[in-house]
Amino acid sequence: MSDEKKPGLKSPLRRKLLMGMAALPAISMLPRASFAEAPATSAVNTTGLAVTDSEVTVGILHSVTGTMAISETGSVEAEKLAIEQINAAGGVLGRKIKFIQEDGASDWPTFAEKAKKLLVNDKCAAVMGCWTSASRKAVLPVFEQYNGMLYYPTFYEGLEQSKNVIYTGQEATQQIIAGLDWVNKTKGAKTFYLLGSDYIWPRTSNKIARKHIEGHLQGAKVVGEEYFPLGHTQFNSVINKIKLTKPDVIYAIIVGGSNVAFYKQLKAAGIDLSKQTLLTISVTEDEIDGIGGENIAGAYACMKYFQSLDNPNNKAFVSAFKKMWGEKTVIGDVTQAAYLGPWLWKLTVEKAGSFDIDKVAAASPGVEFKGAPEGYVRIHENHHLWSKTRVGRAKADGQYELIYETADLVEPDPFPKGYQ
């Protein structure tokens, strides 16, 4: 504790002068609130978080080794970009963000252990992290026990809500229902074949999809529903079944390496995605990189963000991302959602006027982020985001072309009535 207070005891006047001098050239470019009125640490941090007069510490907790590194790398990159941009714009309540990165190593107990370290030892004011539902479930009790704040980026199955978590990705109903309605209306789709990898997210999502298809779409039905173990690489048999049942829509929620095998084999089996409608909620631009654009061109994906979105926020985001991480990188839905985390936290802290977890949690509902690459988002009372849902069509160059977007923001509904 004493270590943390030391900087405050050194001549505060000298410090302020120095800061002022250093910032002089930048003054005209910055919004006035950024450091001019940096409030005293004792006022904005009453619970002993790692906040000093000039710095605030947050954690980044993702897998950079192990199986999940494939997916989580993009999230880490986006979070670092957001933090850098926030710092360049003056930080949070006049304090620069310093981050401590821990590796969850694709192992759920490790996630819990590292979460505890970030909260208890490092006293992080917020943690951006986790990707799979399993890792989130593993750290949730830690965040609730030690009262931390987690910004979770992945689209997921819903059925969860916590004071200590802000879910910046979509929950299942947001992602599923609009897409099914669209395919039913514009393609006249009546028969659906549901596929998925065998774990909680695809199963819950397909359950919601089935309820919606059978209960809300006129005359529509599910003609098949199947799950495959994670890492399954042989899809020829199910492709034959699809050929036999000739569904209007293949609805695929396959993840990881299986994805690559599925789309390559689908193409090899002569199923032409320009004629056969395929709708997925699990393939972002990141996955297409591995699948190969030529193997999935023509498929539709339903999510809230595509790299190709045409708006000024997104253009700035994409070029900043590529500048930082290389021209060849692609940005998928989850990467964008991860980018929202630090920004939403900054806006919430400034709204609350405090870093205290309880105040941040209480101030979260209603926080809006107008600079979001996806357009505009707002935090709901249930700590999920209001966001638009979009349908894109995959092109051979690995990008999606926007086909449809909901007129209004879709309300997050993590505990949907009639869908469980």
Partner: protein, 308 residues
């Protein structure tokens, strides 16, 4: 289940399903061949087999990028070059590993299990550091994609037929090398009696090294071929390793014929059940059946007859 479909539809589906089973069979044989050689001839349980396969896949990816960049005119044929390079790269790494690691552990078979498992983790992280954590997409020449239209309703994947052809070729070559060549006789002599083999002038260390290299090289070719049907990422090798061991153990460790027979049995059971049941269920039933059979016949389907 089939009441609603016409007879010709069903005929076409069953024909395609038959091919699906054969393709799966070829994939299994190709995966397991390298492991069967190493496990069967040397008694080494190579847990890093999947990583040797992925090395082949990465070599293929690099070759394809290089051809696109420098020799776009020859791109349609790059796959054959890639497979040869994959064989060389994986084989060379295999020999290096044998020299540095495995040869010190021949008398401690369980330790080879741990050592090669550690090696697999090291290789995975090495791929991640060198090639990045994300999967890479291997671009195939146009002629290898799509399907062959046998009749109006029957389509056979071209890459599946390619894998089948490749499997047949490699199996014949391996069988020839092991059973008819001078080097193969040396290998079998070492397997049967290492000390006597040494006494009659066979350089047993060299035989070990080349055998291990051959097994790993074939894994490399398999990995190269699987870029057509699967993913290429640092941990993709793990997707194959369980099935591979299953095939080898079920077939009887020391027998090539056993490996082939077991690959055939498992693939047919798997693909037939996958058609009638769901994917996960088919896998569960296949595994249960294998467990039951191995309980009755622990030595696997085919075993060397040895005096105990």
């Amino acid at each position: 289940m089939f009441g609603d479909y016409s007879l010709s539809d069903l005929g076409a589906i069953f024909a395609m399903q038959g091919f699906a089973g054969l393709i799966l069979f070829s994939v299994y044989v190709l995966m397991a061949l390298g492991l069967a050689i190493i496990f069967g001839q040397m008694g080494v349980i190579n847990m890093a087999h999947g990583e040797f396969m992925i090395l082949g896949a990465y070599v293929t990816w690099m070759t394809s990028s290089a051809f696109q960049q420098y020799l776009p005119a020859l791109f349609p044929g790059y796959f054959f070059v890639a497979m040869s390079l994959a064989f060389v790269a994986s084989g060379a790494l295999g020999m290096l590993v044998e020299w540095a690691l495995i040869r010190h552990l021949y008398k401690r078979p369980l330790d080879t299990l741990l050592a090669t498992w550690g090696l697999s983790l090291i290789l995975q992280q090495a791929y991640r550091s060198v090639f990045g954590a994300r999967e890479v997409g291997v671009e195939l020449p146009e002629w290898m994609m799509g399907s062959w239209q046998a009749t109006d309703a029957i389509q056979i994947p071209i890459n599946g037929m390619f894998v089948m052809g490749l499997t047949v070729l490699i199996t014949i070559v391996v069988a020839y090398v092991l059973f008819w060549s001078r080097w193969g006789r040396q290998v079998r002599a070492v397997v049967q009696n290492r000390v006597m083999a040494g006494a009659v002038g066979i350089n047993t260390e060299k035989v070990d090294r080349y055998t291990f290299g051959l097994g790993c090289g074939i894994a490399g070719i398999a990995g190269s071929a699987f870029t057509m049907i699967g993913s290429t990422g640092p941990t993709a090798g793990q997707l194959y390793i369980v099935d591979t061991f299953l095939v080898v153990v079920f077939g009887g460790a020391a027998s090539l014929v056993g490996t082939i027979a077991s690959a055939f049995t498992i693939s047919q059971a798997q693909s037939t059940m996958e058609f009638f049941l769901s994917g996960s269920m088919a896998k569960v039933l296949t595994l249960l059946a294998i467990v039951a059979i191995l309980m009755m016949r622990p030595q696997g389907l085919f075993a060397l007859k040895v005096r105990k």
